[in-house]
C-alpha cells in the first residue's frame, strides 16, 4: 500500500487543447478518494494517467515514493476496474483473475491461493468455472474486482465501475465496496459522475470541472462549504440556489429555506412546480417582483428550489420564505469563487 501524490499534473493533446490543467493532491496511504465531475470534465483521463494508460504531459505522479510518469501500467503496481468490466470473454472467471498473476510468473499454488481467497471474499466460489457471458452484470462486476484484488496492488483504480448496474444493485455494491476497503485498506481512486456514490464512498473527494480540480475535501466539508459556484451547483439535489444580490451571488441550500408569514419573508417566490416526495416536498419557483422571470432592478431572475417538510402547505401562488443568515454562502459572480465572511 502506498501514498499517491499528484503534482501539478497536466495533459494536453495539442498546444491549444489542454484537458487537464494542473491538478495537485496528496493522497494518504489507505485513503479512499473519489474523483467526481460531469462527463467530459477530465476525471477519467486523470485516473487513466495514474494508471499509465494516458501519457502525462506535465507535472509528476508519485506512487509509493516512485515517480511513475514514464512507467508502463504493469510496473506501477496498480490494479484497475473498468466501467464495462473488460473481462476476457473467452476465459473462465478463474482464468480472468489468474491471468495477471500468471504473466507475473507467480507459482501455481500461490495463484490458486489468491484466487480462492478473492473468490471467497466476493462470493464467487461457485462461478469460478463460468465464462463472463454466463453471468449477470453484478457478478461480472465482482469478477472485475476480483481481478484487481488478487494482484494485491498498492493502489486500486476504479473507473465508474457501478454505472452499468441497475439502481438497486448499485446501492448493494456500494456497501460491498466500502466493506472491501475497510477489510483491505488499499489506497483507492474512484471515478464517478454520481454524487451519491461520491458522498457515501469518499473519505475525501476531488470535484472536477473542465480539467480543473474545483475543490478537494471531505464530502461533508465540500457540501457544507462549496468552494465555487460550480461545486455549489453540482452537489446537492436540488442544488444550491444562487441568487444575485447586491452585485454578488447569495447561495442558500433548498433545505435551509423555510416557509414563513409574508411579513417576515426574506424571499418571496412565485411557485412553478410542486413535487411531493413523501418525506418532504420540493417547491420550484422564481423570485417575484418579476412575474415573467425577467430581471428586475436587482438583476434577480433566479430560479429557487426549496425543500419543505412534508406537512408544509404548498400551493400555487406566492410563497414566503426565510432563512438563517448563518447558512448563507457568498460567491463572486465573475470568478465564481467563494467569498469568505
Amino acid at each position: 500500500m502506498a501514498a499517491v501524490s499528484l503534482k501539478d499534473v497536466r495533459k494536453s493533446y495539442t498546444s491549444d487543447l489542454q484537458v487537464i490543467h494542473g491538478v495537485s493532491m496528496e493522497i494518504k496511504d489507505g485513503e479512499f478518494i473519489v474523483i467526481l465531475g460531469p462527463s467530459g470534465c477530465g476525471k477519467s483521463t486523470l485516473l487513466r494517467m495514474v494508471a499509465g494508460l494516458e501519457t502525462i504531459t506535465g507535472g509528476e505522479i508519485v506512487i509509493g515514493g516512485r515517480v511513475v510518469n514514464n512507467l508502463e501500467p504493469k510496473d506501477r503496481d496498480i490494479a484497475m476496474v473498468f466501467q464495462n468490466y473488460a473481462l476476457y470473454p473467452h476465459m473462465s472467471v478463474y482464468d480472468n483473475m489468474a491471468y495477471g498473476l500468471r504473466i507475473r510468473g507467480l507459482a501455481k499454488v500461490e495463484i490458486d491461493t489468491r484466487v480462492q481467497k478473492a473468490a471467497e471474499i466476493l462470493e464467487l466460489k461457485k462461478f469460478l468455472g463460468r465464462k463472463p457471458r454466463e453471468m449477470s452484470g453484478g457478478q461480472r462486476q465482482r469478477v472485475a474486482m476480483g481481478r484487481a484484488i488478487v494482484r494485491e496492488p498498492q493502489v486500486f483504480l476504479f473507473d465508474e465501475p457501478l454505472s452499468n448496474l441497475d439502481a438497486k444493485l448499485r446501492v448493494q455494491m456500494r456497501g460491498e465496496l466500502q466493506a472491501l476497503h475497510r477489510r483491505l485498506g488499499t489506497t483507492s481512486l474512484f471515478v464517478t459522475h454520481d454524487q451519491v456514490e461520491a458522498m457515501t464512498l469518499a473519505q475525501r473527494m476531488i470535484v472536477m470541472n473542465a480539467g480543473r480540480a474545483e475543490q478537494i475535501g471531505a464530502p461533508l466539508e465540500v457540501y457544507a462549504r462549496p468552494a465555487t459556484t460550480f461545486v455549489a451547483g453540482f452537489i446537492g439535489s436540488p442544488p444550491m440556489n444562487l441568487i444575485p444580490k447586491e452585485g454578488r451571488l447569495l447561495g442558500i441550500r433548498p433545505e435551509h429555506l423555510e416557509p414563513c408569514a409574508e411579513s417576515e419573508a426574506m424571499l418571496t417566490v412565485a411557485v412553478d412546480l410542486i413535487e411531493p416526495l413523501g418525506a418532504d416536498t420540493i417547491v420550484y419557483g422564481h423570485i417575484t417582483g418579476d412575474p415573467d422571470g425577467k430581471p428586475d432592478g436587482d438583476g434577480s431572475s433566479a430560479r429557487v428550489a426549496a425543500r419543505l417538510p412534508a406537512n408544509a402547505v404548498a400551493q400555487a401562488g406566492k410563497l414566503a420564505l426565510r432563512y438563517d443568515p448563518a447558512n448563507v454562502h457568498w460567491y463572486d459572480p465573475q470568478s465564481g469563487k467563494r467569498i469568505e465572511q
Binding site: P73, Y88, Y99
Partner: protein
C-alpha cells in the same frame, strides 16, 4: 409471410426446384459420365443413369492419369491442390492478422502509408500483370515449386481489412486491462486477440481455401512440370483437341475429384462460409 396465398407458395417452390435442378444438372451428368466407358459416352445420346465403371475410372485417374492427355496421376495433383489451398489459406490469415494487429494497435510512422499499400493490392490482380509477375517468379527460381505456387498469392488486402474491422470492434478496455495485467503486446495478441478472432479466422479460412484450390491462371503460368500440376490445371491438360478424342469419362472423374474438396468445405462449413463471404465484401 404476410398473407396466405397457396398458389404463390407453390410457384415459389416450383421456381426454387427448377433453380436447384438447373444448378445440379451439369454436376449430375458429370457424375454419370464419370461412371461410364468412353464408348458409352460417344454413343450419342449417352445414358442418363450411372454406369458400373465408377471404381475403374476413378482409380485410373487417381493413380495413373489419362492415357492420351496428361499422364500425371490425379492423386498427385489433388495433393498439390491441397498443399496450395492450405498454404495460401493459412499464409494469408497469418500475415494478414499480424499486419492488422500492427495497424490497429500501434501508432508508428508510415502506418497509413503501409495500409494504403496493402489496400492498393486489391487493384492489382494477377491477371493484369501476368508477364512481369512470371518474370519475377522466374528470376527468383521458384517456377515449378510449392513456394512459387503459393507465396505470390499470399498477400491479401481483403483478409487484412476483415481483421482490421474485427479488431476495431474489440473493446479498448480489453487491451487496457491486459496492459494493466502486465501483458506484452504479443502476449495480448496470443492470449486475447487470437482466441477472440476464432470465428473470423474460420470464415476466412473457408473463403481462402476455395480461392487457393481454384487458382487457375497462376499455376498455369508457373507449372510446366506435370508433377506440379494442380487438379484444376490437370483437367484442362487432359482435354486434347477435338471433343471426340477427349477421354471424357476420365476428364469427368477428374472434374468430380477437383470440385469435391472445396464443395465439401462450403457445405460443411456453411455458416462460416456465408459469414466470410458477406463480411469480406463489406
Amino acid at each position: 409471410m404476410v398473407e396466405n396465398r397457396p398458389w404463390l407458395t407453390f410457384f415459389s417452390h416450383a421456381v426454387l426446384i427448377a433453380g436447384v435442378v438447373a444448378v445440379a444438372f451439369p454436376l449430375y451428368i458429370t457424375f454419370v459420365a464419370s461412371t461410364l466407358t468412353l464408348e458409352d459416352i460417344v454413343k450419342v445420346p449417352m445414358p442418363l443413369v450411372p454406369g458400373p465403371h465408377f471404381w475403374e475410372n476413378y482409380s485410373q485417374v487417381l493413380t495413373a492419369g489419362s492415357e492420351r492427355g496428361a499422364a500425371a496421376p490425379v492423386g498427385r495433383m489433388m495433393f498439390n491442390s491441397l498443399v496450395m489451398a492450405l498454404v495460401i489459406a493459412f499464409g494469408k490469415i497469418a500475415i494478414s492478422i499480424i499486419a492488422s494487429f500492427a495497424i490497429v494497435y500501434f501508432r508508428f510512422p508510415l502506418r497509413n502509408f503501409f495500409f494504403w499499400m496493402i489496400f492498393i493490392t486489391l487493384m492489382l490482380p494477377v491477371e493484369v500483370r501476368i508477364i512481369p509477375t512470371f518474370k519475377v517468379a522466374s528470376d527468383l527460381g521458384i517456377l515449378n515449386s510449392y513456394v512459387g505456387l503459393t507465396l505470390p498469392l499470399i498477400a491479401s488486402a481483403t483478409a487484412t481489412f476483415l481483421f482490421r474491422q474485427f479488431f476495431m470492434t474489440v473493446p479498448d478496455e480489453l487491451a487496457e486491462a491486459a496492459r494493466v495485467d502486465g501483458a506484452s503486446p504479443m502476449r495480448f495478441f496470443v492470449d486475447v486477440l487470437l482466441p477472440l478472432s476464432k470465428t473470423s479466422i474460420a470464415a476466412l479460412f473457408v473463403i481462402q481455401f476455395i480461392y487457393g484450390w481454384n487458382q487457375y491462371l497462376w499455376p498455369l503460368l508457373i507449372t510446366t512440370d506435370e508433377s506440379m500440376y494442380t487438379a484444376v490445371i490437370g483437367i484442362k491438360r487432359m482435354i486434347t483437341g477435338g471433343d471426340a478424342l477427349t477421354e471424357w469419362h476420365l476428364v469427368m472423374a477428374t472434374a468430380i475429384l477437383a470440385l469435391l474438396p472445396p464443395a465439401l468445405v462450403v457445405v460443411l462449413m456453411q455458416k462460416w462460409f456465408v459469414k466470410g463471404l458477406v463480411e469480406t465484401e463489406k
